[in-house]
Symmetry: C2
Subunit: 105 residues, 2 copies
């Protein structure tokens, strides 16, 4: 587990922390892109207008809020949407943030 | 209409603005309390730990984001949740923010 960063358990999810994560447009875009991809995506695979170090910070905030799970494949850090965990903690929230209605405005 | 403050039309609702409104715990509490009340509530009828002038600001932010509609009854300013409008603009979002799972953490 050495290189796997810490992830909160579902019972520790906090709505305030989740909202603070997704209120940032770049972080919300990461979530929307993961949802749209329908698969796990490497950190370098997102279309976001920030530096690599800023992106790393955003991924960390999303991970600590429980929105994404990060793991390594070789030297690539992959990101997975924690859809089931989020749906368990906050039913409907992830869907509401990623509907066509939500993502087009 | 003189004393009725301006309200955005549904077509002008903006998810970023809505998230910035509800990321504040006091404002989110106002929404949750309105949902729980199941009726319109006067500005003085909420259990929130802020001064009257601060509360007025919070109501304004919620109104401008489209979450509540404000109107006068005599000298009381009443607040109504814009449930149908929010559901039309961002299906599921209001429900997700006010579920028992969401409001207990």
């Amino acid at each position: 587990m050495g290189r796997t960063p810490a992830h909160p358990e579902v019972s520790r999810f906090d709505l305030q922390q989740v909202l603070e994560a997704v209120v940032d447009p770049v972080r919300r875009s990461i979530v929307v892109q993961l949802e749209a991809a329908g698969r796990d995506v490497a950190c370098g695979g997102f279309d976001i207008p920030v530096s690599k170090s800023t992106a790393t910070h955003h991924f960390k905030v999303l991970r600590e809020a429980g929105l994404i799970r990060q793991y390594y494949v070789g030297t690539s850090r992959m990101n997975a949407l924690r859809r089931e965990d989020m749906n368990q903690a906050f039913p409907g929230l992830l869907d509401a943030l990623t509907t066509p209605e939500a993502t087009r405005r």
